[in-house]
């Protein structure tokens, strides 16, 4: 559960160890969030080192289940995925796909974070998982 403040708080973290990924693998981030249903912003994020594959602002909803893919772009230091700002995570969007250049040949921290606009409200990370999808061809 997010502390009663308005800073970004890490609710769960994993380390993807150097050497685990190959140049055409995909990471799948699963997260399930419960939030206060209000007009105030509740921001849920997934960070991969300095990369930000997901940053969703929730307001008048209760639940958010998100599957966010991040694929290695034939290199360990180049990734692409769907836009990380969509509330649904699927479908059409005016936003560009998410790209980043994090070096997965070294250890990379994956953090699931939450940030309130009103310290009296709540964000709970009910479940988080990082799933590695290996490319069998590479």
């Amino acid at each position: 559960m997010c502390p009663a403040d308005t800073v970004e708080n890490t609710l769960r973290s994993f380390t993807i160890k150097a050497g685990l990924l190959s140049a055409n693998d995909t990471l799948l981030f699963s997260s399930e969030w419960s939030v206060t249903n209000s007009a105030n912003n509740k921001i849920v994020r997934i960070r991969t080192g300095a990369g930000l594959p997901m940053a969703v602002t929730l307001t008048t909803v209760v639940s958010e289940f998100r599957l966010q893919h991040l694929s290695m772009r034939n290199a360990l230091n180049s990734q692409v995925g769907g836009s990380g700002t969509l509330s649904a995570g699927y479908g059409t969007s005016a936003s560009a796909p998410h790209t980043q250049a994090i070096d997965f040949s070294a250890d990379v921290a994956v953090t699931f974070t939450a940030q309130l606009a009103n310290a009296g409200e709540n964000i709970t990370l009910k479940h988080a998982a990082v799933i590695l999808i290996k490319n069998p061809i590479a």
Binding site: F14, T15, I16, L58, V62, S63, R66, A88
Partner: protein, 154 residues
């Protein structure tokens, strides 16, 4: 916390159409048994399924049950098909997390709360799809389903 590669095992799969028509009784369209202790805490039961049905104003109710507990209860009316996600993290032997039952997507945002079906995974569990009509002249078809068990680092 370190991160381990995930492995997955198929739990259920069907691409054989199964339908109900001519009755208002809730009818089983697919059923399989997940043996006791096949799934464990910190794993995920993941799946997707596709139904087609008569496009009309009358409610067609599609259900997924696990161990007799309804984990998806989807009313559909003036559409022709649905493809829905199912994603169930297993918290403990008797506690799970599922997206709100009535969702037509199984993913994204919702104004309903997550649910805990509280099935006991240490016992044999029936994974069952049913369909129920409001008009016997209409039809529900379970077109396809695919479920797998994801093992992950806890």
């Amino acid at each position: 916390m370190s991160f381990d590669p995930v492995s997955e095992m198929e739990i259920a799969h069907s691409a054989v159409a199964s339908s109900v028509t001519g009755t208002l009784t809730e009818t089983t369209l697919f059923s399989t048994t997940i043996k006791a202790n096949t799934m464990k805490p910190n794993e995920i039961l993941a799946g997707q399924f596709v139904f087609s049905y008569t496009n009309s104003a009358l409610t067609k109710t599609l259900r997924l049950k696990l161990g007799g507990v309804t984990v998806a209860n989807i009313p559909v009316t003036t559409t022709a098909q649905i493809r829905r996600w199912f994603w169930m993290p297993i918290v403990s032997n008797t506690s799970q997390i599922v997206y709100p039952s009535a969702s037509t997507t199984g993913i994204g945002t919702s104004t309903s709360a997550f649910e805990d079906p509280a099935v006991d995974i240490t016992t044999d569990l029936t994974l069952e799809f049913t369909g129920q009509l409001a008009n016997i002249a209409e039809t529900i078809v379970l077109e396809q389903l695919y479920f797998r068990q994801l093992k992950q680092a806890s």
